[in-house]
Amino acid sequence: MELHECKTRAGPREFGPHDDLPREYREAATRMIQFHANSEIMGAYLERPFIRQSPSLDRKLAFSAKVQDEIGHGQLLYRAAESLGIKTREEMLDELANGEGKFLNCFHYPMTEWWETPMIAFFVDGAAMRRQATIKRTSWEPYAHAMDKICFEEGFHIKHGEHIMRELATGSRREQQLLQDAFEEWWPRILQFFGPTDDESTHHDFAAEVGLKTMSNDELRQAFLNAYLPKATEYGLEIPDEPRIREEDGRYVVEEDDLNWEEFWAVANNEYAGSHEQIGSRARAHDAVAWVRGTIAGESA
């Protein structure tokens, strides 16, 4: 298929493994899905200590199940990426461990305290849900198909995050303060979740033209703020003065200059201090069990 035909035909769930797609399409789709799959793994990585540190058996089970779901999402997404014929799952997992693989900005930061967990389990997962819901209409059918299951499970994760947040928000004054502190620390990163403003996004135009992306970063951030700003306020969280957020004609406008884009790009390139930390842990875990993969490699041969 020629590229112009690919752009003309592009629509929700239009293409699958039976289509002879141009290399540009397959590379762009691989990049997008690999990023998504990597993010599932690295998000799970950040949350795993809280399986042990949960303050009740129910929460412990929920965290273990959530981490397990994220690994399951990674598995589905790598499969959807693999079906594009550019990279194998092993290659993508190796890239993640050796620092070539990219993943969501929020997962480059350490999370050490229980009261930080809703920042990911509620806000970041909520933001992810916004993006993922639009991917149900992406043009690569295996990706859209994976999203049906993923969105269903993410709904439970957000509820789990919201329960923890509610518990802290209605707890002692100290708990409320700890939650507010965590919110102030994570809020700018959460606003950067959707990436740079449209005119600085390098991959958006092509991805939109071939139907891989169906909404722009700005539109997604808008949808997220519409839903989650009121939620934050409802739980008694004070929105920090900076970055400034104006309301214009029923839309929230984030003052982009108030956000630290230098840090964002360092994160995006895996060059932030936290990137080294998270990727290093991942690499050590990946390498420690390489011998098992070597041992069982003979089985299928």
């Binding site: 303050p55 397990q68 069990v289 041992t295």
Partner: protein
């Protein structure tokens, strides 16, 4: 047929016999599940990661089933887990032993040894005179069978070459003595009470003999030798000394509870109402 239908009919002595029997069961499941969760996001493949997470969650679920039996005697969850002192836990050290990063053979051998013991132990409780114990056996047994199958399959997979078999052998050498301690009885008084009330229908030494027979037969069939254990480790767990690593596990799992000061919940609630 269970004669003791529930918590209301128990005398003080019967009640303490039930506790002496059930705490070790619950603590074993809870602590081994904690160790299994360390494999989440660290298992050799995404598939094995998902499988071991299932096993961990099943064991936490079983722990809850057993903790519920003692909860019905008047404890709440914080008392059973987060406020108990580390030396008041009664798990066997097999469950709490740490392992080297990447030692997947440890995970599957530990699971095989534990789940084989578990199957025997559950068999000895199916006819328990205390109904809340007997009632729980069927559900737990089904899941433990799946765990044992999973562990057995993995052990056989690792034994495809000499190097893999050596990792299994190392894990067996290290874990077997601690696994034997799973069958260590409590105090003689507790053992007498448990057995005379028919809370358990077989003795621990008899279960241990069957366990040695089953595990030895399996390991011999895959050319892995079973070590001669004499005497048992100095830190077998249960009522005796716990392994040192148990303390750091305990510190971690109680950390958030302590930092949130959950032990003083009533004060927190009234403070919140004031504000």
């Amino acid at each position: 047929m269970s004669a003791l239908t529930g918590p209301d009919v128990l005398s003080a002595a019967e009640r303490s016999a039930v506790e002496a029997l059930v705490f070790p069961l619950a603590d074993d499941e809870f602590v081994i599940a904690e160790r299994y969760t360390e494999w989440q996001v660290r298992a050799p493949t995404l598939e094995s990661d998902l499988a071991l997470a299932n096993v961990a969650q099943d064991e936490f679920g079983h722990a809850r089933l057993w903790y519920d039996v003692v909860a019905d005697l008047g404890y709440d969850e914080p008392e059973l887990l987060f406020e108990r002192e580390p030396d008041e836990f009664y798990h066997a050290s097999l469950c709490a032993l740490p392992f080297d990063a990447g030692d997947w053979a440890d995970a599957v051998v530990r699971s095989y040894l534990y789940d084989t013991a578990e199957a025997l132990r559950l068999g000895s409780l199916a006819g328990s005179a205390y109904a809340p114990i007997a009632n729980r056996i069927e559900r737990i047994t089904t899941e433990e069978e799946y765990h044992r199958e999973h562990a057995t399959t993995w052990i056989e997979r690792l034994c495809v070459d000499a190097e893999g078999r050596q990792t299994v052998q190392n894990a067996v050498d290290r874990l077997y003595p601690y696994a034997l301690a799973l069958f260590e009885p409590g105090t003689p008084e507790q053992t007498d009470a448990i057995e005379s009330l028919n809370l358990r229908t077989e003795s621990l030494p008899s279960l241990r003999e069957q366990w040695i027979e089953t595990t030895s037969t399996f390991f011999e069939s895959i050319d892995v030798s079973v070590p001669v254990v004499e005497p048992l480790p100095e830190d077998p767990g249960r009522h005796d000394s716990h392994v040192e690593a148990w303390l750091s596990l305990y510190e971690e799992f109680t950390r958030t509870y302590r930092e949130l000061d959950r032990a003083h919940t009533p004060t927190i609630t009234s403070e919140h109402n004031d504000g």
